[in-house]
Point group: C2
Chain length 227, copies 2
DNA sequence: TTAATAAATTAGGCATGACTAAAACGCGCA
DNA sequence: TGCGCGTTTTAGTCATGCCTAATTTATTAA
């Protein structure tokens, strides 16, 4: 077995494992195969490779866990992913639903100098366009901003959109269609118990006050910061 | 054979073929294998693949030639390579000898939107940090700036450093060691017939006039624009 | 305690893109 | 015309990472 080899595939597995661990979920071959759109049998094979490389602790039929080096690598990938996303949105003018797939590629560029200089160039941002925290150059990961799901808000609350749960492009695109963007300040006018939807009021791009009703499904995935 | 597949390997072959064609050299399996640090037998294999994909015209024992689609793809790679190099030097503060290897990775990122927005962000630069022209979004490649090799200059000529021949990192690093950078304005004081070296005068970073003797090997690879 | 079921692993293949060694080719020169 | 040598291709392997199908294991319910 050739040690010390990096590869896009291995790195995507490490990232997927980290993501499940951060959610407190069990890292099974099935859960990983769903995330990466492969098959459980393929995951078993990769678990062996990563285990031989010392990047995960793998007990057959029991699941996997990142080792110190594995976690370091995974966090570095997360850092790169989020910094590139931030660059694309803040500097290049992409919308927040357009950058995930491209960052999925950019995160594999091997150069610590590059990512650290990009970080400095942007002034060391703390959060990516989806509200997720960006690990610093030493791999320190701060908590997600103390945000609340919008469905927890009560009538009269004023808050600003600061993130989303998950990273579904269709959801982000839907938000875009409705004119919901990061930083949008809105006030909860009414909460409908019947279907869990809420009526909100906010200023649109043309400075006009606008009323809108957000569905239960939408507000459950939308994160905001209370004013 | 799975058509329509992109891959880093195939793309590097296309770039290597384009580079040889632009130099007017014959595209043989040996020449490509030297450029890519593979073996001629491997090149034969890849020539077949690229030929099946319609990206090159390949006649066994005769060599290869880019087709229209192949050339388009290769020029797009060249565009991406040079734009990323420019970004790293102009925006991130890299030196011109540090960016080639990283651009070798970045050029494979698949996203026309990304590279076009990066191009716009930088104000549509025409030349990369090594003086090479950057193809535009439609694949139009203008000529290299009409530069002269420094060994062709005569006593009393004043010129500015605008590029290098080839892309050897050791050469670029050597230039850096001597304080020779893009845009440096210098005057030829003497030309030594004996060994082809020339004595020049220029202002260093601290605004002091500085004299230096450049070797024949150095000035042959250094390109400048006459004032 | 055992049987059924769901999850995970093994076995066997395939595609890509490298490699080495051996055979075939093509071109210049006698 | 034909020989010789350097170039190129072919043949056969290997590593990676994916797949499907068959088998094994863990867990849960009877
Ligand atoms: Mn990725
Ligand atoms: Mn993100
Ligand atoms: Mn490359
Ligand atoms: Mn260049």
């Amino acid at each position: 077995m050739k040690l010390s080899e990096k590869s896009r595939s291995r790195q995507d597995y490490l990232k997927a494992i980290l993501s499940l661990e951060l959610n407190g979920a069990k890292v099974s071959t099935t859960s990983i195969s769903e995330k990466l759109k492969t098959k459980p049998a393929s995951v078993t094979g990769m678990f062996k490779v990563l285990s031989d490389l010392g990047l995960i602790e793998y007990i057959p039929y029991r699941g996997a866990e990142l080792t110190k080096p594995g976690r370091t690598e995974a966090i570095s990938l997360m850092r790169k992913h989020r910094l590139w996303e931030t660059f694309m949105v803040e500097n290049l003018g992409f919308k927040w639903d357009e950058v995930h797939e491209i960052a999925e590629q950019l995160e594999h560029i091997e150069s610590k100098e590059l990512i650290d200089k990009l970080d400095a160039y942007m002034g060391y941002p703390s959060f990516d366009p989806h509200g997720d925290p960006i690990p610093d150059a030493d791999g320190n990961l701060c908590d997600r901003r103390k945000l609340v799901q919008v469905n927890m808000l009560k009538q009269g609350d004023t808050a600003s959109v600061q993130g989303v749960l998950g990273s579904s492009d269709t959801f982000l695109r839907h938000l875009g269609d409705l004119g919901i963007r990061l930083g949008l300040v809105f006030t909860v006018m009414r909460v409908f118990e019947f279907d869990g939807s809420i009526q909100v009021e906010f200023e649109d791009e043309d400075w006009n006050m606008k009323e809108m009703t957000w569905s239960k499904k939408l507000v459950e995935q939308l994160l905001a910061e209370l004013k």
